[in-house]
Assembly symmetry: C3
Homo-oligomer: 651 residues x 3
């Protein structure tokens, strides 16, 4: 199914009916509205104006469209800020208040904002909760975007002290957990605790981790209450949230997703590629500058599916150039269609485009829509028409479930650990995780992202690219899974309180793979060294652990100096370094074989994904490409010879 983001308040009311009719005509069925409309819904304190929204919903409903309503809490109006200036968050790098004039100018710890945000949510939910055209709700918008999870405000300090008291009860327990004796950082009572910001030099990483957990909890608490309010007034309607990647939210997206019916994702392949690959040379980047890296969208799709373990929505899909990356190319012709199909292949039930018509004003005026500002049809339009025709060829698409046999374990907590303690400036946890994911995808393997709290039964191969904090229950789940297990560098090295594990890394995982990390070194990115699987040479880079490998283990790879770089013990493998991509592909190919997971030989830039009985093929290159498909493949779309930027589907 397809959807659209629409802002009736941006357009003359006279345009609404035709807009709605055209949406329906194009094949759109869902319309998301009202997410930034607070100043129009409550122009002055307590003076509500719902007439225009009532009429907008009616117009959309009359055209056959279903409405997804938003709480407008990402943009509190000026009068509210002036009433309660302490709503503004405080920048943790400068100590300055972050002012009004854009969006997300609120502190998750502000009691005033909590009350006011829940008030407007209640008012909206009361009014539209049972509206027949409103089929679901989106909470706020891209929670925690623009680095707003962390605030250095007085409100945050007060709340953090209370959070510490609640979590540690006793100040000596906290001092001991954090190792505050180290630099006489010991507190005598919880009222002495500071936020771990703006100190003379690096603050205690345990202190920083606690602050990140607290900050994430504040977001979750805010969001939970909002969901509770909506549910109380909107029976039978779904509640979702449009997530951005965890690496950007600094919030535990798993926790945030818990009360939702399903997760949604805002998908901007080109904008995000530009930022993620900013340091890569043109040789790597240029082929994908108008397509996005072949694994980059699906990397987030599989993560989003993992948040609730269910199918998901793409709430915002880039339909053309955006305005916010460092460079903003337009998609190659065909890519909007291709990305949409990739979304469906990885478990999307709805793809909703952002936005209907490009806005002629304000911050995002250079962000493309389906229509240009002269109301002409933009480049994505015919691609969506084509998509709608093609979707009709797969009538049972939404009934198909994604069922991967390979899982990657990811957590926000460990992203925090690696950000707090980089040890080498060139270590980037997300890049490590993406490299592992991409290697699997290049081998034609479907991947689930799972949290370490999740049951691992049924998976044949479980990969843990970088997870310093390992809890006993997770070790148990690994043992129970029966899967072949692969642990990457840093995994198991830290306690939950950001101390080194007493038995040396990988700590509790030594029950599975009895190696020991004797030392860790980090290497300048331009000083990579040879890495070997047998005689075949690859590259070790950035992060290298010195491994003690007992006789019971088999060495799978070694460094240039002959020391072991990866070892296997029974059904568990430990990889002690960050490496080039080819190394991962070679290593994983072997391990997938061991795990009896089928791999597929794919042409460069071609990817394969399976959703239930359907197999999808995507060509990210301009050149046609021929794939080896089963002889009995029943082609719903395309054929084994993929066009440039082509899609094919067979059953």
């Amino acid at each position: 199914m397809l959807g659209i983001c629409y802002y009736p308040e941006h357009w003359p009311e006279s345009m609404w009916a035709q807009d709605a009719a055209e949406m329906y005509g194009l094949g759109i069925r869902y319309v998301r509205i009202a997410e930034f409309a607070w100043s129009r819904l409550e122009p002055s304190p307590g003076q509500y104006r719902f007439d225009w929204l009532d009429r907008a919903i009616s117009t959309l409903a009359d055209a056959g469209l279903k409405v997804v309503m938003c709480t407008p809490t990402a943009t509190p109006p000026k009068w509210l800020i002036d009433l309660y200036p302490s709503i503004l968050p405080v920048d943790i790098k400068t100590g300055h208040s972050r002012g009004f004039g854009s969006r997300r100018h609120y502190d998750f710890s502000s009691p005033d904002y909590f009350r006011e945000a829940m008030r407007i949510s209640t008012v909206l939910a009361e009014r539209y909760g049972e509206h027949p055209a409103v089929v679901g709700w989106q909470t706020d918008n891209e929670l925690a975007c623009h680095d707003t999870t962390h605030s250095g405000s007085e409100a945050a300090l007060t709340a953090f002290r209370a959070w510490c008291q609640q979590h540690y009860s006793d100040i000596d327990a906290l001092n001991s957990a954090w190792g505050n004796v180290f630099w006489s950082m010991e507190y005598r009572h919880f009222g002495e605790i500071e936020l771990p910001i703006l100190a003379v030099t690096e603050t205690n990483p345990a202190h920083q981790l606690a602050y990140r957990r607290f900050s994430s909890d504040q977001v979750v608490h805010f969001h939970d209450e909002m969901v509770r309010i909506i549910r109380a007034h909107a029976p039978g309607r779904f509640v979702t949230h449009n997530f951005i990647p965890m690496v950007d939210t600094q919030t535990d997206n798993y926790a945030l997703a818990k009360p939702l019916d399903f997760a949604s994702f805002d998908n901007y392949p080109l904008g995000r590629s530009d930022l993620f690959f900013a340091k890569r040379g043109a040789a790597m980047f240029k082929p994908y500058m108008r397509t996005g890296h072949p694994d980059f969208s699906s990397y987030y799709f599989d993560q989003t599916r993992g948040l609730t373990g269910k199918h998901f929505w793409i709430m915002e899909q880039q339909p053309g150039p955006v305005n916010w990356a460092k460079h903003n190319p337009r998609p190659e012709p065909g890519m909007v269609r291709l990305w949409s199909w990739v979304s469906f292949a990885h478990g999307a039930d709805v793809v909703s485009y952002f936005r209907w018509r490009q806005a002629p004003f304000a911050q995002e005026q250079m962000h493309a829509g389906l229509k240009r500002i002269d109301n002409s049809k933009a480049a994505a339009w015919p691609e969506i028409e084509q998509l709608v025709r093609e979707m009709a060829l797969c009538p049972d698409l939404l009934e198909q479930q994604v069922k991967a046999t390979v899982a990657m374990v990811s957590t926000t907590e460990n992203q925090w650990v690696c950000e707090i303690e980089r040890q080498g400036d060139s270590f980037n946890q997300q890049e490590v995780e993406f490299a592992w994911y991409s290697a699997l995808r290049q081998l034609g393997v479907d991947v689930d992202f799972v949290s370490p709290e999740q049951d691992l039964t049924g998976y044949k191969l479980v990969l843990v690219p970088c997870m310093p904090v390992v809890r006993p229950e997770f070790v148990k789940r690994c043992q129970d899974s029966g899967a072949l297990l692969v642990f990457g560098p840093r995994t198991g090295s830290k306690t939950t309180e950001f101390q080194l594990v007493p038995q040396l890394a990988p700590g509790l995982l030594q029950a599975l793979v009895p190696v020991k990390v004797l030392s860790v070194e980090t290497i300048r990115p331009d000083c990579a060294e040879p890495l070997f699987i047998g005689q075949k040479q690859y590259q070790s880079q950035c992060w290298r652990e010195e491994l003690e490998v007992p006789q019971s283990c088999q060495v799978l790879a070694h460094y240039h100096d002959g020391l072991p770089a990866a070892a296997q013990h029974q059904r568990a493998v430990y990889v002690a370094t960050v490496s080039c991509d080819d190394f991962l592909k070679a290593l994983f190919a072997d391990l997938l074989k061991q795990a009896c997971v089928e791999t597929v030989v794919l042409p460069h830039d071609v990817r394969l994904a399976r959703r239930g009985g359907l197999t999808f093929l995507f060509n990210y290159s301009a050149k046609p490409s021929k794939v080896a498909a089963p002889a009995n493949a029943q082609w719903l779309l395309g054929s084994a010879t993929l066009d440039g930027y082509g899609v094919a589907i067979y059953r």
Copy 2:
């Protein structure tokens, strides 16, 4: 004529007379004084000391020198700051007060400073306005240098609110003009308006543009009042200001120049080259590190001439290494002479060197003068002696007028638009404009810079490299001009209130060239792509617009994918991309031919300029170079074979 910047207060009075005699002996006729002397003129509140200045002026006058007097307002003394601390400007990036201890430590919106600056200006003008030796005045010094146009002070906020009220009258008009509905940024009254600084993320570009217009207006208002005061007391004396480039002032230099008799420019070819070309490789930069780029000084000279449409002064000319760029080479021998001749060729009436003798103390002690601190003659001295001899060969130089038939339209407003909305980090409006200018200069063409408010009649070719905001009157002027018109990327794309034009870019200019910009993309600088004129290949880079070209237009260039990159309709051309320099040279050569503007084949690094009946040739290379001159050329200086760093003049 030649001038000099002199600071009698820096030297023992016993040196003044000899200094004056030597100045005159060298050929200097104008001496600028007193620009930073406030603490000597008024050492304590209200206690004036003019005796020393009286004596200094007498000494200079006695030697035959004419004095240019300055208001000392760029450096308010400490006691004034302590009396009125709110004089200090506030940094818009940090919110901090910018303190005493250097210069320009004042806020253009401070009512206290406005009053005090006008008081000292009045006192000075009263005393020296009719002094026979004082022939003219310089206002302040390099207004708005050091990013002082913008301030985040309370005074600025108050003034900005008043400015908004005056410009928009009605708050709904402002909300609508800025599109404040976009993120619930709507204001209920003018007292709610904030400065567009220190917000959570990007503020509304319309808000930013209004703030820039306001800030520029504050500078102009300050300056207008100062000029009014001087004129009231100094009948028959000229008033000028020593400008720095518009890109650095953030002020509308056209507006600032309006009440002046002529504009002056402070010319530092090496310092500015170092900063402007900082990202270019050594292969491009090194040949010019001691000469400046051949088009870089004249680029500013032609702009300065354009401010008032008249000849101008070089108020400060670099005579050796300076102290303030990232790297500060000394000029190649001969360059001070060459730069001086370039100034005259482009319309300077006076070239004044900064400074007489190098200061042994304080911030600029590493800035060369004509004399070293041991009172010996520095490297520039004999070059100026030579220059004076040569000037005698062109006795009618100052009667000659620069008359270009090619104009480039430039505005500060559009520089602001492009800075506020870069869309791609590598888009730089000034670099685009300079590339266009340089291509013309390499073809031997003289160029006027004009404001869009100026009549275009008489020009054969008018180029508008990048002017997003186009007003109907400008379109009218274009239509009336009869010139061949060339519009560059972004031109015509925005309304005056920083909205997208409703008919798509180039908006109103579609009356001249009926193309449509369907989408815009920005490209990483290392991902340039082929660009073609016919079969000949060039490079498109950084910025690329997708163009709809009707049948009535001729496609002049196309992208690698065959789509049009430049198109002509009758007498108007639209160029949709940023390109390599060779593309511009090739395109402009064709268009100049169409426009019947003569081009000259010049050796690499040689430039040609015409002032009235005089033609000047300049060789920026160390190697001699032979140019093709008319057979009947009457050589006033040099010959068709230019020495290294040589100058030749023929009639």
Copy 3:
């Protein structure tokens, strides 16, 4: 002798005795304790807890170990900060208070902290001053680390005004000394003076230099009082301080060292190499990433020896990877032993490792120790065992004195001058000094670092790489020394008040080498130019002075344009440019020959050092290397064929 840094408060008391026994068993004799233990020594105001420290000392003493006690003033506890919040320093770049949560959170100008720091020092000195096991004291820890010398606090402002009054007596004298007339920066009285921070643009360099002198004096004053207190209570015990490089302290380390018995240095070859060579390419850096540059440790050792002119301690020696550089490789096997031997060869009497056991918690948990956190022996352990065995082969090692015949003159003051006025962004005084030092060391020459206040008699060659401020007494010392003298660029160019010398550089040194610097230029690092000794070509880079050379001088080198680049007059040489390393090696080889200093042809990556009758050879490469040793060499360790990373000693 060997030592160790130990933190009994980090470990269960039950581990202490075994730790002590193992230390002694390994060959360790000194244990440094208590440096960050304030919160354990005084958990609440006035409530002291010495019982645990008493027991710790007893335990160590019982095992045969001698204790070095520290004052814990680098880490004031939270309750003290809450009592006196103005103890916190203020960031001079932002104006923000630098908060609690790490270390060194105190302002050297805070009267409250001065009183409290001396109180805790007194209490400790009273208790342990005459303790038989306590043989010496370390003051504070790495004074002024983390940029804490400079503070922008009210306390600093008040103290700076008083300092100025004391130094200049008369405000007119200060105005004149600083050249405040330049931009009307004149003060009317000392109460008007500001700190030279947070101004609109660059502040007066003389003002900045005064502020740096003041700030250094504050550190010295603080430290002097602490030493006085310890001496009053600890008769017969040594007092030392663990220095970090002067370039990082912004304090005059010579002044700081004055009251000490000897200086100590904290030696982190890999961490510091990573930072110092960060901009160098992998080709230069990679060979040394696990060894450190062959001259980099000794560069600091020779400086440390120079602080008091006596032997020194290495108080902290890196035993494995650290945590704080941008990249943190582990040492090549053998390097901990090699670095220790290098320390001894350059005059260390004790090498003390940091730290005994890696801490599992807090900021430095990734910093290696001699033992891992599972109490196993880390990589350095067997190397130290080997070292102890080898030290027994040189029983008279500590009786040998380092006696160099070549001296390099270094001062903190001139480092400040070059930092304040870079003139070219790529000019780095420390890099220039290191290049000169490294060239000498590659020629097998031992080097003393001396302050300009020191007698130069006895040296054959004295080098002054970069010393803008030259006082008459230093010229006298040069004249009296009889040494061949070599002065580098900028030397002699400034007065003590940061003005240009009136006679042009090298100012007073013209008495020795009568050249004149006519102008100075700075060059982009990628725009180096040829430099010649005779016909042999080298490279001039970054900094180039134009030299007037009288007939009485011999030109030793010239630039690409034929102008002189180095000149000699009798026994004095002036070098006018920064150059490539090969130029320095060639030039110094000639000059050493003139000075009758023996040079040694060493293989690449091999270094030689002499301590009394012992000659040490070090191989920084993995490859064995053969050196030419005297035929009668008596080998105490190794042989003329050095192993990879090998050490050899002969008498």
